[in-house]
């Protein structure tokens, strides 16, 4: 190392290592696909939550309206 000569490390099962790296890549692709699907589900969930929120707001307004109508009776 001191004279700058390259040092090498012997790897006996190089082909096995390459195969394992290939398998890891396949698994990573699989994980990315799964994450994509989960994101899609999350987006669907978010839009459903938005719809719920809107419905809840509508219900609140209507209940408020009913409350106003019923508890402010007009004298005949």
């Amino acid at each position: 190392m001191t004279n700058g000569a390259p040092v090498f490390v012997r790897i006996d099962e190089y082909k096995d290592v390459l195969e394992i790296v290939g398998l890891i890549k396949d698994k990573l692709n699989e994980a990315r696909d799964t994450l994509g699907r989960i994101n899609e589900l999350k987006n669907n969930e978010d839009s459903e939550l938005d719809m719920w929120e809107t419905a809840l707001e509508e219900i609140e307004k209507k209940v408020e309206q009913i409350d106003n109508e019923l508890f402010e009776p007009e004298a005949l």
Partner: protein, 167 residues
């Protein structure tokens, strides 16, 4: 002659039988030629000496009708192809046996990367556990919210009933 004497066979005489004439008697020193028979017959060939031609394969039989030159050329080409394949296989086997080396710096980098990937995987696993907890909480909140909606619906029905009864 007895009662059953007619059943007995009558022995035929030599004149009645169709027998060839008796050969003339041999003189002294006369040879019939039988002694020379053993000398004339060659000894049976031994199995080792006997060269049996190889049984022709069906492929060779198919080649009948093709010019011999073509057959010879084809066979030579096949032999050469086999030799090339064998040589390649030998080279591959040698390559497999050859030790492979990677530069020490690159090897260290690879080890560092592997450790970094391990840490990333740990973080991912923690994230999955955290997401699982969030999902559980969400599930509980959804159940709670469903209960609240049911209550609202019941109370609304009650209010409706009361109001329309009074009207």
């Amino acid at each position: 002659m007895g009662l059953l004497g007619f059943l007995k066979r009558k022995e035929p005489s030599a004149d009645e039988l169709d027998v060839p004439p008796i050969p003339p008697a041999l003189n002294e020193g006369e040879d019939l030629g039988l002694t020379s028979i053993g000398e004339e017959i060659p000894p049976p060939p031994s199995l080792e000496e006997e060269k049996i031609p190889p049984f022709p394969s069906p492929l060779e039989e198919e080649k009948e009708g093709e010019p011999i030159e073509n057959i010879v050329l084809k066979e030579a080409a096949e032999r050469k192809a086999k030799q090339i394949i064998l040589a390649r296989e030998k080279e591959e086997a040698k390559e497999e046996l050859k030790p492979l080396f990677v530069r020490a710096e690159k090897f260290k980098d690879a080890l560092r990367e592997i450790n970094s990937i391990k840490a990333d995987l740990k973080r991912s696993e923690d994230a999955i556990v955290a997401i699982g907890d969030i999902m559980d909480n969400k599930e509980r909140e959804f159940i709670k919210w469903h209960g609240i909606l049911d209550d609202i619906e019941k109370k609304l029905m009650l209010a409706d009933k009361i109001l329309f009864k009074g009207g």
